[in-house]
């Protein structure tokens, strides 16, 4: 038995139980499915990272546990500090500004660090942080806050061009500008995954707010235009596509990572080689972006399916919260967070299994990485808060009248004679 099973397992249990108790107290009506699912994913991630530690002789699992502790602390903090998610609507513009500042931070000399060609990290002493992970959450709040106020104007006012109703510039302008700025920064930082994520997020939220499918068509066209332009202009996009089309063209060079991941998945087969029996360390960055390859190799297709189902459950519960939420802001935030989650899972898992070209993103809750883990725990806290509000029974006015008169405070009642 691994010596640190009790240490890791015990601490994990304490964290999860603590989170559960807090949820029961401060958000009693919250969705009961989300926390167990997320805890399962986080625990599996921790186990796999520890296994990779053993192969690579690193100590990432303990760091990940530290980050998880911080994540759960922020999760608890968010639930306590945020009794009602509608409070977030007050920070519509503040969070928008904060998102932009966070996205600019890595560009600052001395603070930003370039890792694997993407300049999306900031270093503070021994810690490095990916501000984009926090920015994506802030952007959801900004979009939701703005759209919920302006949705009627966006949906109704405007001109009809061909078959699409375009809103007035002054309604769409601010949010569009905001999106362009964040996207522009990401393009400059060469972070393809996040660009794709933000674009998809923007499109989904606009569609849900306006209820106009036309936006999806416009967005789709814009996406293809943008993708083609990026393919033409940026060498690194081209090479990503080339690797995707034929990773075996250069199996020891540019295609190495993907080829090794595919060999890993295949080597795992249906039931996997068994934890500790595979060679996940052959895949570069297997502890972060490619952690699913390690799961596929050692735990097999069954485990990969289970992970996908868990992710699917998170998305489904988030969208359910959006459906039953009674306020537009809550609906939009929940949908936005669900979309971010679903797109991120799709982009990264699609990338490592060669369904789509690879773009660097973390696998939520599984991958090693503090920024992602902390941000995702906060996202779950917000989702729980929205579901708590949505599932809370309406105050029963009739019941109040039926309470025992003896229990009620004594009061003087002026009896009016009808005589």
């Amino acid at each position: 038995m691994p010596t640190n099973l009790i240490g890791y397992g015990g601490w994990l249990t304490i964290l999860v139980v603590a989170a559960h108790v807090v949820v029961r107290i401060v958000a009693p009506y919250a969705d009961p499915v989300l926390l167990p699912v997320v805890a399962a994913l986080n625990g599996l991630g921790l186990a796999v990272i520890h296994r990779i530690d053993l192969a690579k002789d690193t100590g990432l699992a303990s760091q990940q546990l530290t980050w998880m502790t911080l994540g759960v602390a922020l999760f608890v903090g968010t639930l306590i500090a945020l009794p009602d998610h509608r409070l977030l609507a007050r920070f519509t513009y503040t969070s928008g500004l904060a998102a932009i500042v966070l996205l600019i931070l890595p560009m600052l000399p001395g603070l930003g660090t370039q890792i694997n060609g993407a300049r999306i990290w900031i270093s503070l002493g021994p810690f490095s942080f990916q501000p984009g992970e926090i920015a994506k959450m802030l952007l959801v709040i900004t979009f939701a806050g703005y759209l919920v106020v302006h949705r009627d104007a966006l949906a109704l006012a405007g001109r009809r061009v061909v078959f699409v109703d375009l809103p007035r510039g002054r309604d769409l302008g601010p949010v569009l500008m905001m999106w362009v700025v964040s996207l522009g920064i990401l393009v400059l930082q060469r972070d393809l995954g996040s660009s794709l994520l933000f674009f998809g997020l923007f499109l989904v939220m606009l569609y849900v707010a306006t209820e106009r499918p036309g936006w999806l068509i416009v967005g789709g066209l814009l996406f293809f235009g943008g993708a083609t332009a990026a393919f033409r202009i940026f060498g690194h996009v081209q090479s990503r596509v080339d690797i995707w089309l034929d990773p075996f063209a250069d199996p020891d060079g540019s295609g190495y990572q993907l080829v090794q991941a595919l060999y890993g998945f295949a080597w795992g087969g249906l039931v996997g080689r068994g934890l500790g029996e595979g060679m996940p360390q052959r895949v570069p960055y297997v502890e972060s972006d490619f952690i699913l390859a390690a799961i596929g190799e050692e735990l097999g297709l069954t485990a990969v399916m289970a992970v996908l189902l868990l992710y699917g459950l998170v998305v489904e519960r988030a969208l359910r919260a959006a459906l039953i939420s009674r306020d537009g802001f809550g609906k939009l935030v929940a949908t936005g967070l669900a979309a971010v989650f679903a797109l991120q899972v799709f982009v990264v898992i699609g990338g490592v299994t060669r369904l789509i070209p690879l773009t660097g993103l973390t696998t939520p809750f599984l991958s090693y990485g503090g920024s992602s883990l902390v941000a995702n725990w906060v996202i779950i806290a917000i989702l729980l808060r929205i579901s708590d509000q949505a599932r809370r029974p309406l105050p029963d006015l009739a019941a109040e009248a039926e309470t025992d008169p003896d229990e009620q405070a004594t009061q003087v009642v002026k009896v009016v004679s009808e005589r």
């Binding site: 989904v204 569609y207 849900v208 707010a209 209820e211 499918p213 075996f248 199996p251 080829v259 090794q260 595919l262 060999y263 890993g264 998945f265 295949a266 080597w267 795992g268 087969g269 249906l270 060679m279 052959r282 596929g296 097999g300 297709l301 990969v304 399916m305 996908l308 992710y311 699917g312 998305v315 489904e316 969208l319 959006a322 459906l323 537009g328 609906k331 939009l332 949908t335 669900a338 979309a339 679903a342 797109l343 899972v345 799709f346 898992i349 699609g350 299994t353 060669r354 369904l355």
Partner: protein, 510 residues
């Protein structure tokens, strides 16, 4: 806003379904393709971590796995005593590559062969790590030793050569030696830097120690090819063992000014001599004329009946085909295409020159077919496949490759000629007391000039079988280089004869 949220959830469902379908494709449908991809070092590396089956000669392992406590669980070991001797057959196991039996029987040795399915299932149920199966070779340890040490001691440290011995009735390969050889342990070591350094050194060595000359080197077979010529002549019905055959001091084939001589053997000079005499003294003038009389078509058919222009050994990869020319390529400048062999060229093929080329394995097959009353058996190296617990899963059944390479009568007449050659002719160094031995020497000129004229030393061959009337072993010895020997000393009988004798004795003394 609920309608678009429902649409979004359906969209998300499709995203997840796409991921699930794709991952099923990768891990289920494509998994075999990826796992058998030769570039997949992961699979090879995994085989280092599992107990690989043994390769056995008799009941002695010549390749085995022992537990190791470095980065892999098992180290492949080739027992010191026979490592170099068996290396051309066993091959070696290196990270990401294997050769020899290690390669051709990889599925059995790793335990992934379907024959081992039940064993694997039992291992799984017992909770044990699956073990690979064992491969038992047909080799005779004594014959192999005689062959390898014969080459080493006769040729000297700089020599190059090969020996193949076959059991004529079955096709079992009793010995397959190639010299120089290498120590496979040095390539199987887990110290990959050292292994790759050793490989570079061996690969760059001019003497090609990594080459299995028995199946991968083809040279002019020289006079040993006269067996084929004689077989074609007897099969044609024109000549029999007691008949006189044409000879002469020199022979000028039709349509050429080039003359074929006898390298100073005066016994060949009369215009007609006995067939036995021609064979005993290996008269070039006789066999060149016989080949011309038979014609290129019949010569080729006879050579192919013995296995030329074909690959017959299935147990090792990389066998090169021995060649009897089917035609001659005409240069583009002269119109291109191919034409039939001219009579002058046919005359040269009759004495194993021109474009005739054979591997030691091929010459052993020719000899074995004659020894086996004309029936050519498929040579094989894998006698049995066993489980890790030595339970026999499969024993190879001998297979007839050609039941009429020559008729039994022709085979008998050829045997008589070859027995005479050992008793009173050039093949006398292979004589064994109280055993009737049949044999033939061969000394194939390399280039135009002879040793006496300062030319390159020839290739020396020796083929034989014994006992002549009920053969248990057929041997072919090929000597490519023996730089320690004087040029004139390199002749099939002198160098090859004693080696062949030692190998035959090793088999017969059982």
């Amino acid at each position: 806003m609920n309608k678009p949220i429902r649409a979004v959830s359906i969209f998300c469902m499709f995203l997840f379904l796409a991921l699930m379908a794709n991952v099923t494709y990768v891990q289920f449908w494509k998994s075999d393709d990826y796992n058998t991809d030769p570039r997949n070092a992961r699979v090879a590396e995994a085989s280092y971590s599992r107990e690989r089956g043994q390769i056995l000669v008799g009941d002695q392992p010549v390749a085995t796995s022992k537990p190791s406590d470095d980065r892999y669980k098992y180290l492949r070991v080739y027992p010191e005593a026979g490592a170099r001797m068996f290396a051309p057959v066993t091959g070696y196991l290196q990270l990401g590559s294997q050769t020899g039996i290690e390669r051709s029987q990889n599925a059995v040795l790793t335990g992934e062969d379907p024959q081992l399915f039940v064993t694997r299932l039992v291992d799984l149920l017992k909770g044990e790590t699956a073990q690979g199966g064992n491969v038992v070779l047909t080799l005779d340890a004594d014959a192999q030793k005689a062959a390898f040490e014969g080459l080493r001691d006769t040729l000297g440290p700089k020599g190059e050569g090969s020996v193949v011995a076959i059991q004529p009735k079955t096709g079992r390969v009793l010995a397959m030696a190639s010299y120089p050889s290498y120590d496979p342990n040095e390539l199987a070591t887990h110290d990959s830097a050292k292994a790759s350094e050793t490989y570079q050194a061996l690969d760059g060595d001019d003497r090609e120690p990594l080459l299995n000359r028995a199946i991968r080197t083809r040279l002019f077979p020289g006079s040993t090819f006269k067996l084929v010529t004689a077989a074609a002549a007897i099969e044609s019905g024109k000549y029999h063992v007691g008949d006189d055959v044409p000879a002469g001091a020199t022979y000028q084939p039709p349509g050429t000014t080039h003359r074929i001589g006898n390298d100073g053997r005066g016994q060949c000079s009369p215009a007609k001599i006995g067939f036995a005499t021609a064979m005993e003294f290996s008269c070039n003038t006789t066999f060149a004329q016989l080949a011309v009389e038979v014609g290129p078509e019949k010569m080729r058919e006879q050579a192919e009946a013995f296995g030329f222009n074909n690959s017959s050994l299935l147990d090792l990869q990389g066998q090169v085909q021995s060649v009897y020319p089917t035609g001659v390529d005409v240069p583009e400048s002269e119109g291109g295409g191919t034409r039939e062999l001219s009579l002058a060229e046919t005359a040269q093929t009759g004495i194993g020159q021109n474009t005739v080329q054979a591997t030691p394995l091929q010459m052993a097959m020719v000899t074995a077919a004659i020894a086996n009353q004309g029936t050519l058996m498929r040579p094989y190296l894998v006698e049995q496949v066993q489980t890790a617990g030595f339970d026999v899963l499969r024993t190879t059944e001998p297979e007839v490759l050609n039941d009429h390479a020559v008729s039994a009568r022709t085979a008998g007449e050829l045997t008589d000629l070859l027995v005479a050659t050992v008793e009173s002719g050039t093949a006398s160094p292979a004589r064994i007391d109280d055993v009737k031995v049949a044999g033939k020497t061969g000394t194939a000129q390399r280039g135009d000039s002879l040793c006496s004229a300062g030319g390159k030393p020839p290739y020396a061959w020796f083929v034989s079988f014994a006992p002549a009337d009920n053969a248990e072993v057929a041997v072919a010895v090929m000597i490519e280089e023996a730089p320690d020997r004087a040029c004139g000393e390199i002749a099939g009988g002198q160098l090859g004869g004693p080696i062949a004798k030692a190998v035959m004795e090793a088999v017969l003394n059982k």
